[in-house]
């Protein structure tokens, strides 16, 4: 991210210059709801609350007005991801709205050492937690110190055993992450959801639960009803976006809104209110956020949330309710509910990924599933257009598991190879793979029957059952004996190390986040179900089941190892392209179709919402589209 840090730094310097020059014209404004608090002396005036150089945010359309409550809903009380996406997207750095650049956030600038081992960050001067206490390098150091505790259940890059990190505090606002080995992906990590962890703990408040700082911590934990200090810490000072973090209103935060009604176990709603110390302003110097409050109804009933949205009782939401099945319903209800639908561009490359187990414990099956011709044959037997028409009302296009068209890694040949429905080509491919047809179904060359069981979890995506039922009929028409096995999710995971499954399905992660989520391009992590034992060999987690990968996969692993240590984004992108090239050549997994656009629901008077939005996990939509600059237009 050399380029980025330079531009970030330059931007910050330029901004300071403007600030100094503009002087009084830049008088900062605050929300009317805070005026009384300032007058009564409970709050210092807005200039003292803001840092020296607040982050200036360009509104999407227009400068907003203060006020209003954003209503949405959580599916059950453990739906912390929605809070993470709306309230909590504030790390050291953040992604821009196009998701192609990393820009300053809490850190106004950063520098990377030549060997990509030392990352030095400069925090904004005068940042404050929502209780008014200063946010400094010490807070970062504390978070890393705590999460490095082997007994403490928090992870991310801090706990990576292959590349441990330490923090060097240089002064109040300057610190460095020092890695043992080169780390090329850390900036992306910090800009994604995983980046919240290091900025989520206030040392002053949280150190009281840590025996290192408070000798009574262990005893206090017992007195408070917790078995260990770790559990007590987790309860009071949970990291990042854990659900329980939103249950403690005393925990200082750096987000645009702070907890008003906590999300306790028996809460039927949780509310957030503006953080008077939030450190961002719009281009006219108005302190953000514009919206005063968020209320989230806690509902176990999807149908209730759907009806609330139809009834105009939800101001913005996409999570849970914006399904393919509900689209006609929401489309028709726009006028009555006074809302509009906006487009969400999914980050996934595929509606369904069919992964044959190349590491099957059965010798014959392993050999067959590793045979590229076999997979080509299966791919040609799928009438993708029919599936798209039936299940997705024509939305989407036939697609393999490859980078999406919006991605810089897009390669049409990779995306489209073997996607045409062609039973003859399939028959030829099966023959090349050594299968023989006797009667209705293909068998192994020696005549042993070949029945393939495909595992799926119906409860996750209702489309999957529909798609698989169609695919089963199509594959059986082509001579493959397919059995569908609708199983429980835990079993789905338990089966992986055992290696006796034929095939599993999942959605196509990594369509836009190609580098960060390469599970289908090479055996990268535990989600690479098609080559689980190869990825074990690569990651070294439980060596007793590791298997040496095929040469092409090993070549990919070498390339990815280089990529992880590479500081130069251009070189990284080159390395990724090489990995993808090998993947295209070897065609490890079979895709069905490119997902059509999703949608979000927004009330008509809600403004500054970008359209369309990219939708991903690492890029926690709508967080990167700056909900703190959304506002309600006066009627």
């Amino acid at each position: 991210m050399r380029l980025n840090h330079l531009s970030g730094l330059a931007g910050a310097v330029a901004l300071t210059a403007i600030l100094a020059a503009a002087g009084p014209a830049w008088a900062q404004q605050q929300a009317p709801m805070l005026d009384a608090l300032v007058e009564s002396g409970e709050l210092p005036p807005v200039e003292e609350r803001l840092p020296a150089n607040p982050l200036v945010v360009e509104p999407v359309d227009s400068i907003g007005t203060y006020g209003g409550t954003w209503r949405s809903a959580l599916r059950g009380g453990l739906d912390n991801a929605w809070i993470a996406r709306t309230v909590a997207y504030d790390g050291l750095v953040r992604y821009n709205r196009e998701w192609d650049e990393i820009i300053p956030n809490l850190a106004e600038s950063w520098e990377v050492s030549e060997d990509s081992r030392v990352y030095t960050f400069k925090l904004r001067e005068g940042l404050k937690w929502n209780n008014g206490s200063p946010f400094t390098s010490a807070d970062i150091a504390f978070a890393v110190e705590l999460m490095s505790e082997p007994s403490y259940g928090a992870g991310t890059f801090i706990k990576n055993p292959n590349n441990p990190v330490t923090v060097e505090v240089i002064d109040e606002t300057t610190f460095s992450f020092v890695f043992e080995n080169p780390n090329g992906l850390i900036m992306d990590d910090l800009a994604s959801v995983n980046g919240f962890t290091v900025v989520s703990l206030n040392k002053e408040y949280c150190s009281q639960f840590y025996p290192k700082y408070n000798p009574d911590a262990e005893a206090n934990a017992q007195a408070a009803g917790f078995e260990t200090w770790e559990l007590h810490m987790q309860d009071r000072c949970s990291w990042a976006t854990e659900t329980i973090r939103w249950a403690n209103p005393d925990l200082p935060m750096m987000n645009p809104w702070m907890i008003e009604e906590p999300l306790t176990g028996d809460a039927t709603r949780t509310t957030f209110v503006r953080n008077p110390y939030y450190w961002k302003v719009d281009t006219e110097g108005n302190q953000l956020p514009y919206i005063d409050r968020l209320t989230m109804r806690v509902s176990d009933s999807l149908e209730e949330i759907t009806l609330m949205a139809l009834n105009g009782e939800i101001d913005f939401q996409d999570r849970h309710i914006a399904t393919v099945a509900n689209q006609p319903l929401f489309f028709d209800g726009q006028e009555a509910g006074d809302y509009r639908l906006g487009a969400n561009v999914p980050s996934t490359s595929n509606t369904l990924v069919l992964q044959f187990n190349m590491n099957h414990v059965d010798e014959k099956r392993r050999e067959l599933f590793q045979n590229k011709d076999f997979r080509i044959g299966v791919s040609h037997l799928l009438d993708r257009q029919e599936i798209i028409d039936v299940v997705f009302t024509g939305q989407g296009e036939p697609f393999q598991v490859a980078p999406r068209p919006e991605s810089p890694f897009y390669d049409e040949e990779f995306a489209k190879q073997y996607t045409e429905y062609d039973p003859d080509a399939a028959a030829a491919a099966f023959e090349a793979a050594g299968l023989v047809k006797s009667g209705e179904f293909y068998t192994f060359a020696d005549g042993t029957p070949l029945q393939i069981t495909i595992d799926l979890i119906a409860s996750f995506r209702s489309e999957w059952v529909d798609m698989m039922e169609l695919m089963q009929l199509q594959l059986e028409a082509g001579g493959l004996d397919i059995e569908l096995n609708n199983i429980d999710r835990t079993l789905y995971y338990d089966k992986r190390p055992l290696g006796d499954y034929d095939a599993q399905i999942w959605q196509g992660d990594g369509g836009l986040d190609v580098v960060q989520e390469p599970r289908y391009y090479f055996p990268a992590n535990g989600e690479s179900v098609w080559a689980f034992r190869w990825q074990v060999w690569y990651n070294g987690a439980n060596p007793e089941i590791a298997e040496e990968p095929a040469d092409w996969a090993k070549a990919q692993m070498d390339l990815y190892t280089q990529l992880r240590a590479e500081g130069d984004p251009d070189v990284r992108s080159d390395l990724m392209k090489q990995i993808l090239e090998i993947s295209k050549e070897n065609f490890p997994v079979i895709g069905v179709s490119l997902p059509g656009n999703g949608y979000y629901i927004a009330k008509n008077n809600m403004r500054n919402i970008a359209e369309p939005m990219l939708h991903a996990y690492l890029f926690p939509t709508p967080g990167p589209y700056d909900p703190f600059q959304w506002y309600f237009a006066a009627e």
């Binding site: 393919v324 039936v390 009302t393 939305q395 096995n485």
Partner: protein, 378 residues
């Protein structure tokens, strides 16, 4: 007559004269309860549908069609108006006019009365096995063209024929009720019978267990047991497992009924007489006591079936019972259990109507039986 069909034990037993008169008495009393008589016929019809599912269902329940997703019901028209304005007997359905609305992501359908698709009764079809062993190649109804839409009750989200799915679902749901009750009956009679006949510590122990099981809320029990089923079981294995789970709770009620009957019969004169004659316990139970309350047991068993059927739907709703691609009323209802269906495809709630009808019918039939079986008469 119907009573005879459902209690073969009675028909087979000796001492014909007395028994028939009792049966006739029961039947007369049963007939007074007109609701029960109607219900009896409904129950018979439903079980016939279940037995003849392959013959009655117009199409394969899993046959899908991209062109007819969420197609509304066509209805079945028996008469056709000729050009000269007269009516003639010509069973038919009407075609659809449909278009895709890409923005709203759906197909819209209008039933088009211009397009007449004749329906043939006893239409030839692909060969199939009725009830799994009778080879047949004719179906009750069918249309000529394989691509002509034939959705009397409408289509689901994949363009599958709801009527066919409903008919096949009837088989699974009703048989689960029947199998569950049979199993419950087996446990109930044996356990309840011994408890009632011998009394003493065994009786108290059994009654404690029964009380205990009945004091457990059933949902957590089902949930726990259903969640504990090995997850790699096939559909058939799950089906049987669910049956067993349902009857694990169901036997308690039957055991109570049986025990109660035994307790009251134990002191009756004819039992004492048999004992004095030196008849063995087994003989007294099977020859003398059981026949005298068979009708009660049948009534109790009938009343237990609805609970089983409802339990099956509830388990499917919770995502723990039978799962798609198995077709049962429960899985059909689970698929229909959302606002989208209520708002735009209400015909998919038809399985709910079937559930209501059969539950009511079984309840009233059971009530009628019980009233009729009461020796004191009312």
């Amino acid at each position: 007559m119907a009573v005879e069909t459902i209690s073969p034990a009675e028909a087979a037993a000796p001492r014909k004269v007395r028994r028939e008169s009792q049966l006739a008495l029961m039947w007369r009393r049963f007939r007074q309860h007109q609701l029960a008589v109607v219900s009896l016929w409904l129950v018979i019809i439903f079980y016939l549908i279940a037995a003849l599912a392959e013959f009655l269902a117009p199409t394969d329940p899993s046959a899908y069609s991209a062109r007819f997703t969420y197609a509304p019901p066509q209805g079945l028209h028996l008469f056709l108006q000729n050009e000269d304005g007269g009516w003639s007997f010509q069973p038919h359905v009407n075609g659809y006019k449909s278009e895709v609305d890409p923005q709203a992501m759906r197909r819209t359908f209008v039933v088009d009365p211009e397009v007449v698709i004749p329906v043939r009764f006893f239409a030839p079809s692909e060969p199939y096995l009725l009830a799994g062993f009778i080879p047949m190649s004719v179906k009750l109804m069918g249309v000529e063209g394989p691509r002509d839409p034939f959705y009397i009750l409408g289509a689901d989200r994949l363009g599958r024929d709801l009527l066919s799915r409903l008919i096949h679902g009837t088989r699974i749901s009703l048989s689960i009720g029947l199998a569950g009750v049979t199993l419950s009956l087996f446990f109930g009679i044996i356990i309840g019978g011994f408890a009632g006949f011998y009394g003493g510590w065994f009786d108290s122990a059994v009654m404690r267990v029964v009380e205990f099981i009945r004091s457990m809320p059933t949902i957590p029990l089902w949930l726990g047991l259903a969640a504990a089923l090995p997850k790699d079981w096939t559909a058939l294995q799950t089906y049987f497992a669910i049956t067993i789970i349902l009857s694990l709770i169901g036997w308690t009620e039957l055991a109570r009924v049986v025990r109660g009957r035994f307790l009251s019969l134990r002191t009756e004169d004819f039992v004492t007489a048999a004992q004095l004659d030196g008849a063995s316990d087994w003989r007294i139970i099977t020859r003398h006591m059981v026949p005298s309350f068979t009708s009660h047991i049948i009534a109790a068993a009938t009343l237990a079936i609805p609970g089983m059927i409802l339990a099956e739907t509830a388990l499917s709703f919770l995502g723990l019972g039978l799962q798609a691609p198995i077709v049962s009323w429960g899985t059909l209802l689970q698929e229909a259990q959302n606002i989208r269906t209520l708002a735009t495809a209400p015909w998919l709630l038809a399985p709910g109507i079937c559930v209501v009808v059969i539950i009511l019918a079984l309840n009233f039939f059971g009530d009628g039986l019980r009233d009729a079986a009461d020796p004191h008469g009312r």
